[in-house]
Symmetry: C2
Subunit: 427 residues, 2 copies
Amino acid sequence: MNVTDFLLQVAIILFTTKLFGIFMRKLGLPQVLGFIVAGILIGPSIWELFFDLSGASVFPLKQNDFLNGFAEVGVIFVMFAAGLETNLQDVKKTGGTAFLVAAAGVLLPLVCGTGLGALFLPHAEHGFFTWLFIGVIMTATSVGITVEVLRELGKLQTRVGTVILSAAIIDDVLGIMILSIVLSLSGAKSADYTVLSLINPSGNPAITVIWILAFFVFAISAGIGISKLFKIIEKKSPHTRRIPIFSIATCFLFAYIAEKVFGVADITGAYIAGLVLSTNHNSAQYVDRKVSINSYTVFAPVFFSCIGIKMSFAGFSVETLLFAVTFTVVAILTKIIGCGGAARLLKFTRKDSFRTGMGMIARGEVALIVMEKGISGNIIDDKYRVIVVLLVLVSSLLAPILLKLLYRHDDTPALPTRQELEEGHFD
Amino acid sequence: MNVTDFLLQVAIILFTTKLFGIFMRKLGLPQVLGFIVAGILIGPSIWELFFDLSGASVFPLKQNDFLNGFAEVGVIFVMFAAGLETNLQDVKKTGGTAFLVAAAGVLLPLVCGTGLGALFLPHAEHGFFTWLFIGVIMTATSVGITVEVLRELGKLQTRVGTVILSAAIIDDVLGIMILSIVLSLSGAKSADYTVLSLINPSGNPAITVIWILAFFVFAISAGIGISKLFKIIEKKSPHTRRIPIFSIATCFLFAYIAEKVFGVADITGAYIAGLVLSTNHNSAQYVDRKVSINSYTVFAPVFFSCIGIKMSFAGFSVETLLFAVTFTVVAILTKIIGCGGAARLLKFTRKDSFRTGMGMIARGEVALIVMEKGISGNIIDDKYRVIVVLLVLVSSLLAPILLKLLYRHDDTPALPTRQELEEGHFD
């Protein structure tokens, strides 16, 4: 495999991911599922069932350093953009309510997921941490589909809509923090050189947790400093190329420091970098646009198709399938019960509570990314990649259908959207 | 070196290239020189003079598969954008005149460069082809600096300005065609599997040239077909993400086919893909914007800093320095004499002929890229990388200074610019 062959591989990835992405979108499903399907088709998993691929170097696509480099930058960009696009103002407004809904929707899946892990993977290498990790995968809601459905129904600006939006942001942050702690405590990455393993060679959990908290303190204070510096640059030469370039460099630097110095996942570093820079209202949108273009034209297709490319049906068994189905059912039910229950306790009507829970079931990019982190950290075997793919597929199918059903006979007028208010349609 | 270390390397590249890029811009020099200087500073060339770097894995930056993959995609993006930004309409207008100026400005450097090669590299492995290659590096004008100076002086829309602009485009095309022929005939890449080496195992030059022409026929006809297909897609769903994504995939595919099937350099494939898609007026600008953002935020800094990173002062000698200085002088004089002479023959005034020649001396990205191709194809030793860097540096310094001097006492009114005409300032 040389660099020119890699160009062909990227061309194949771009053509196929976009085609399947458009197809999934037509079915009302997220594009990212199309990217994974494309990856499965151009990867070895199916072809190796029929052919001997030992001589194949370019097609079907296998993991290689070029692809890995692009995929890694891809996941960093996706998490950075997720951070940048977060509107912490909105979260502040719904504050306590959304936090409780999110916390319940993190806790219940975490506990039940851990139990499920113990049930299906009793002999896992990292024992309790692997079980806990099964729970962690379930925590992060992907709100994209729900937002589109609610917008279409004109319900995005209702109490249910705003709580779902904020809770989805909060459960991302909670999920990522728990992921950091689990990965770090499990010692799954100790083979890698980190400052953490130097100062804490015996793996004392208290030191590890303090060290993780130190990361968040470092990241937020350094981030605020950098953000102020960017404001000065932005004032002197507004909307120049240096702002997105320095922002991207900062994101990569944070990712590196998170992983190598603090033993926290690099995606956490990228996400926090995005969160901190999102508070810089002058440039956040401008930077996000550049990052998104980088992401959708090259990097995200490479990253998500790589999930499909790495898929293998060789170790596939009835047990794995049973695990995947149970995992999916538990992940969906615990969000409905957790978030819906919390809403009900907070005096939402019965129907609105159910809607809130239903709006939180969809999983997407973050769940897939968490799974990849677990696999690369050896905390879980890569044959279980399929369980997340099934969850993403089923939950993205169910969320819009059930939400529409739940709003079928609802005639209470929606609150006017901010745009409508600005345009004065409600005067 | 693992993937996380690579993130740090990219962060270092982005910070330093942008800082030095801004600095060079302040000096009135092209940013790309700053990128190379940054590459020299963060690469091993200087550090290895003082330290033993055998244990260093992350810093100073050395070549690795991750960087190579990004650099390769970077050069493809730069050439694709150059193709996309070409306005063939403008070239048509100045047609014959510009063509003759360009042809003379290609031929003279090519001949003198070949002589220079024979003088300084009499024992080169590929003999005549290496000498010819020295000439090829000299052919492509980088018109960016000249355009900025002429625009500032209000002379861009004069006869001299438009001829320079078109001639610079034409000499890119001519230079790239000659590069393809030289690389292919030299057999420098025969180690690599290409269809060419299968159908022409004995390296018959006539077959090689026919095969190269076949590439251009293939690329232009396939490109026109694809361009038509894009027009249909664009009509159905205008300005959607699929257009830039499919365009980028097409560019990578062309690059691969050029190199692997026709034995033509992959950058030629990318450039031709850009040229063909530039005729699609609805989407060319839209695609170019996405490609440019990809390019300037990540890929171009990696590619150009890699030129500095690969630089080495170990094999540096007085002879190399003498070669570099002579090379620079010859490259500049032959453009002035070639292009200026052709202009004078075409009845330009003595002063305008001189201005035309002077406007063509600047070299930039394309010369650097051609050099890298030659090095990776083993047609020239990598210790001669420095000769192109010196040429780019000196010619970019001289061009604006001399042009401004030549226009100092010029009071003939410039033709109105298109924009001014549209705004009616000359009514």
